[in-house]
Symmetry: D2
Subunit: 360 residues, 4 copies
C-alpha cells in the first residue's frame, strides 16, 4: 500500500532498483495538455545518477517511455502509463548483503514488515523510485506553466555550508539554479559545497543538506482548510522523499521563537491587488494560499551508504562488521532538487484541480 | 473537502467556533474496545480554553457526547458519532470583523476561496476544531494502550526558552508533563516560560514555541514504504494543526549538517532483540518503524490574535487600522500538547491496522 | 469502515436505530448554495415511518438539525454536520432478540464480523440509517435544481403488480409520484398495490417491489470511463440500500436477449443538438452520460421482518422457533423512493464536481 | 480519474487498444504469495480475442510481463507493475472513424467529456482494458486459493437461450465451464448458443447474454455494513465492465415479486455449523457474507459493433450513414467470464484484507 500520491492528479508508482524497469501511472491529468517530451527527459536528467562528478558514478540513461494517455502529442484525459528501464543494475554486487542489515538503511525494517525482501540495491526502498516522481512532476509542471506558476528549488546548504540568500538574484534563478553541479545559486558557497562533497567522496563518507523551494504565482485560495491544508500536503510530499528528516515553511522553526507583533504579516492594498508587507506566513494562511510567494525548506540526512566499516547484525541476530564497496552518492541534495520540485508541483496541480469544485 | 483524516481509522470533523456545536465521526474503530469516557474528557480538559491563567480566558466546558458506535460501554465496529456543544460563543463580539481581514489569520484566504465566509471567531478556521481531533486521539490512545504503546508530548520551547532535556526524567514523564501549566517537564525552564507568557498576555502580545513528542513501544514494521512513510503521515498530521510551521523527526534539521559516519545508527544484537546504538533515525528507517523510540518536534508560530493595533485592509481593498480586543491565547503550545499527541496517536493506530494487511 | 459515500461530495453517516440520535457529515458541498430547510424536511417526511397506513406505525418525527457549514442560510464550503434524534425507540421491545438470530436479518452476520452486537432494532443495520442519506440527497437535489437536473423515482411494481408505463404522463410525474401513498403514478395499479400491501400487513407478511428512477437534464460527459463509470457508481449506490437485490439501467436484463441491430441507438442531429432515436443505452455510453434520459430500476426483496413463526437458531447454535411481534413495514418500496432518488442525486452531484477537473 | 479499483488490494490500469501496450499496477498485494505465472497467462488466454471461432478473429497474444513486486517467485508486498503489448493493432483500420460517432459506442461521450479523443479502436473505452483486470483477478484468485475460496463463472444465457441449471453438476464445474467454447456447462444449451452466435457472426450482427457467478467458501463476515456492502462492491465491479447492463444477486429481480414468508432463509444448526435452509439471500445478509454460497448474475447487452449499415452523425452534426467492416465479436459473454470472475475475486480479496482490521 501507499504507492499512490494525490487526490485528483494521482501518481501511482512501481518498481525496484534491480527489476527490469520501474514505472508508474498518472491518473487525473486533464485532457488537452500538449506534452513536451524533451522537458520530461530533461527533468529526469537533472535527477539521474552519474550526471556530474559529485554524484554516484552508477550510470542510468533514465529514458522514460510514455505508454498511454497521449494522442498526437496531447493528453486525452486517460491515464498516462510510463516505464523507465533499469540498465545498470548488477544484482551480483549485492549478493553479500543478502543476509545482513546495513545501518540506517531499510533492510531491517522491510524484513520485519514483509518477512521477505528483495535485497538487491535496496529493492523498493531505493531512491531509484523517485525517478517516477520526476516524471509525474514534469507533467505537473507543464500544467503549472499554463497557469503561470513557477516552482524553483535550489540547494540551500550542504553540511554546515549555507547559501547566502542575499547574494542570489531570484529573478534569474531559473537559469542560475542549474548553472553549477551542486545546484546552489550562490556561487561562492557552491564552490565550497562542491569541495566538501568531493572530499567526502574520496573518503567514502557522506553529508546531509537542505533544499529550499520557492513557488511563484500560486493563486489565492488553494488548499483545503482542515486536514489537507496546503502546507500539510506539501509536508507529507517532502517527508515521503527518501532521506528527508524535516520540513518547514514560511518562518518555520525560527518562527517558534518570535512574537506575534513581529510575525504577523500586515495586509496592504496595492494597485496590483492585495499583498502582505512581510511574508512570515510563507504564502499560506489558514491552510490556504494567499497569493504571496510560498517557500519552504527540506532537510536531508547524510545518505546511509558509506564505504567505511560499520558495526551491524545479520538476519540471525549475530553482531557483525559490514563494509560496503562500490559507487555511492556522497551528498544527495543536488540530485534531490528536481524531486522536491516535482513533489511540490504535483501538490499544487492537485489542489488547483480540487479547488475547481469549491464554489457552486 | 479535506475534513477527514486517516485511511482505516478515519476521523471526519465538522463545526465552526460559533455554530451550535462541533463534532465528528470516527469510522474504522475496531470492535471490542472498552471505552473510558473519563479519559476522553480528561484529554479534552488538557486542551480546553480557560484551563489555567496562561491560556485564553474564554470558557468552554468542552463536554463530549458520544452518540453511536458503543454498546454497553464497548465499541461495536460501527462509526462513533460525537458532538461538543459551543456554549461560550458570543457572536456579536465579532461584528466588527465582518468586513475586514485580520493579519495572518484565515479571513482573507477563506473569502478568496469560498466567496462566502462565517466571520464569527474564525468560523471553520478556528482552532476550536481541534477539540474533535482530541476526541479521536483519546480513542486512538485507548487502542494503543492495549498494545503497550505510549505517546508523550511536552513543551520543548517557548520563544527562545528551551527545555534542557538532560534535566528531564523521561521514565516519569507521564506524570511530569502536566505537572505544570506550561507542560514542560524541565521545571526550571517551565518557570521562565510561564513568566514570559504572563508578561506577553499582559502586553496583548503572543509568542511561538515547540512541542516534542516521543512514542515508545511502537513495533517494527509500521508505515508504508513510499508515499505513506510513517514520517510522511506524521508530518502531514502535524502540519494540519493550526499555527504549525515545521516538523522534524530524529536528527531533523541538525541531521542535514552531519556526516554519514556520525549519523548512521549501528545495529546491535541484545538479549532483548535488535537495537540501535544511537537513534538519529528517530525510530524510522525507510519509512517504517524499527522498534526504537520515535521522536519528533513541531514548531508553532506565535498566534495571530494580538491586542495591539495593526495595519490591514477591508474587503473593499481599503487600507485600514485594526485593533482586536478581548480574550486571547498568548502562547498556544501548552494547550497544543494533547492535539499533537492525538494526531500522532491516530497515525499510529491507522498504521497498526493497515499493517495487518501486509502479509499473506 | 465503509460509512462514507462519494469522492468529492461525500456523505459520512453514523448512528443506530436505538442510540440517542443518528446523523452525518456532508463534506465537499460547494459554497454559495442557498439551503431550503423545508425541502430537506419534506424529503425526510417522504421517507419517515408512520406516514401512511401502508407503512410501519412506528412514529418518528425525523427532525433534522443542521449543525454547521451554513451561514445566514448559505453554504460556506465547510462540512455540514447534522443529527436526527431517535425518539420512538423502545429498546426493551428487543430484549427477547438479544441471543437469537432473526432469519434474513443482519443479526448473525454482524455477530460473526464484530463479535459484539447492538441487537436493539437491528442497531447499525437498521434502515433507519437511510434517513441520513435522504438529508445528503436533499442537499444534492438543491444543487441539481440549479443545474436543471431532475431526478424522479416512483414505485414500478409491488409483488407481481406492475405499473403500466404507457398510462403515466411523465411530464406530470413530479406532482403525480406522491399523489398516492404507494408512490406509483399509474393510479389503477397503485390501487391494487395498496390493497395487496394492506392485506399483507393484516397477515403479518411482507412483499418486495421495484422502483424506477428517471434522471432528466444530465449533461453529456458525466462519469469516469473505467472503474467509476456512471452506471457503476449508480449501481453501487443502489445496492448499498437495505433490501436491494438488483439494479439494471437502460435495456437492462432484457437487453441481454436482444440483437445488436435492434439494440443500437442511432444518433440523429436535431435543431436542439445531438439525440438518439431510441434509448436502450439508458442515457449512458462508455460509462459516460450522453445527454439523453438516464433511467434505471432497483429491485427490493420483501422485508425480513414478518410476524409469523419461523425456524432459526440462537447464539449457542440451538435450533429455535422465533416469532417477532409489533410494528412492521409490509412493503418497503413506497418509503424507499426518496432513498433511491437521494443516492442517485449524490452520485450525479459527485460526478458533476469530478467532471470539472477533466479538461485543462 | 477512476482508473483504480479496490481499497487495500488496489488495481490501477492504463492503456488504449492502439497504444504500444496496456498495463497496470497492483498495490496492496500481501507479501509471501508464490506467484504461478502460468495460471495468470492461462486466465488471460480465457479472455483473449481469437481464442475460438465464435469470437473476434483479431489476434492478440496477450502476453503479460510482470515488472516488479516479485522476488524469486514470491510477492514482496511492493506494487506489482505489469504490461501487455499491443501487437495486432492496425490503427489505419480506424481512419474512417475519426470524425464520426458509432451508435452505442463511447465515441460521442468521450468527445463531449474530453474535447479530444483517440478514435483508434475505441481508445481507452475499448474492452481491451479488461485484460488488465484479468491480471489483477488472476493474482487475487491465487490468494483466494490459499483461503479455499473458489469463484466460478459461466455463461447463463445467450439471447433467449438459457442454461438449465438443473442439468449442471456444479461439483464439476471447474472443469466443465471451459469444456466448450461458449463456456456454458449445460451442453445442450451450449450447442444452441454456439449455433446462434455463429449465425449472427455470419450476418454481421451481435447478441447479448448473461453470466452467472458462484463463490464458494467465502467466510462469514466479509463486507462493510453501510455503503460498502459486499453486494454494493460486487455490483459496482460488474457494472464497471464494458457492455454490462444489470446485476442481481440471490433472489434478484425475482425476489421483488416474492412474499417475506417465502423469501426468508431460515437458519439451521448443523454439525458443520450454522447454515440456511434456503439461500434467497445469495450468501449476503446486511451487506455481510453469511458463509453460504454467494451467487449473482450479470447482464450484457449485444456489443455495439455490427457490420450492417446504421444511421448516425459526424462531429459536425451532419446525419450520415455508417458501415463498420472487419473483425467483430458477435457475443461478448464467453470471453467475459474470466473478467466477471476477476472483478469478483478482487472484491473478495479486498474485503478479506479489510476485514482483518475489524476487531481489536
Amino acid at each position: 500500500m501507499g504507492n499512490s500520491f494525490g487526490n485528483i492528479f494521482k501518481l501511482t508508482t512501481f518498481g525496484e532498483s534491480h527489476g527490469s524497469s520501474i514505472g508508474g501511472v498518472i491518473d487525473g491529468c486533464p485532457s488537452g495538455l500538449k506534452i513536451d517530451l524533451n522537458f520530461i527527459q530533461n527533468e529526469l536528467d537533472r535527477r539521474r545518477p552519474g550526471q556530474s562528478n559529485i554524484t554516484t558514478q552508477r550510470k542510468e540513461a533514465d529514458q522514460v517511455e510514455l505508454l498511454s494517455g497521449i494522442f498526437e502529442g496531447v493528453t486525452t484525459g486517460s491515464p498516462i502509463g510510463f516505464i523507465i528501464s533499469n540498465n545498470n543494475s548488477n544484482s551480483r554486487d549485492y549478493d553479500n548483503l543478502k543476509d545482513v542489515y546495513r545501518p540506517s538503511h531499510a533492510d531491517y525494517t522491510y524484513q520485519e514488515k514483509y518477512g521477505w525482501r528483495d535485497h538487491r540495491g535496496g529493492g523498493r526502498s531505493s531512491a531509484r523510485e523517485t525517478a517516477c516522481r520526476v516524471v509525474g512532476g514534469a507533467i505537473a509542471k507543464q500544467i503549472l506553466k499554463q497557469k503561470n506558476i513557477e516552482i524553483l528549488g535550489f540547494v540551500f546548504s550542504v553540511g554546515n555550508i549555507f547559501a547566502n540568500e542575499k547574494l542570489i538574484d531570484f529573478s534569474k534563478i531559473t537559469k542560475i539554479r542549474d548553472s553549477n553541479m551542486v545546484r546552489c545559486p550562490d556561487e561562492k558557497s557552491a564552490t565550497k559545497m562542491i569541495d566538501l562533497i568531493k572530499d567526502l567522496k574520496a573518503k567514502g563518507n557522506s553529508v546531509g543538506g537542505q533544499i529550499k523551494c520557492i513557488m511563484k504565482g500560486v493563486p489565492a485560495g488553494l488548499g483545503e482548510p482542515v486536514f489537507d491544508k496546503l502546507q500539510a500536503d506539501l509536508s507529507k510530499a517532502m517527508l515521503s522523499i527518501n532521506a528527508v528528516k524535516g520540513f518547514e515553511y514560511g518562518s518555520g522553526f525560527d518562527g517558534s521563537k518570535m512574537f506575534g507583533s513581529d510575525h504577523n504579516d500586515e495586509f496592504i492594498a496595492t494597485p496590483d491587488g492585495v499583498a502582505t508587507v512581510s511574508n512570515f506566513s510563507g504564502g499560506i494562511q489558514g491552510g490556504l494560499s494567499n497569493g504571496e510567494e510560498i517557500y519552504f525548506k527540506v532537510a536531508f540526512k547524510p545518505v546511509a551508504t558509506i564505504l567505511t566499516s560499520q558495526k551491524s547484525i545479520d538476519n540471525q541476530n549475530n553482531n557483525i562488521e559490514i563494509k560496503v564497496s562500490g559507487r555511492h552518492d556522497p551528498c544527495v541534495v543536488p540530485r534531490a532538487v528536481p524531486i522536491v520540485e516535482s513533489m511540490a508541483a504535483m501538490v499544487i496541480v492537485d489542489h488547483l484541480l480540487r479547488n475547481r469544485t469549491t464554489r457552486l
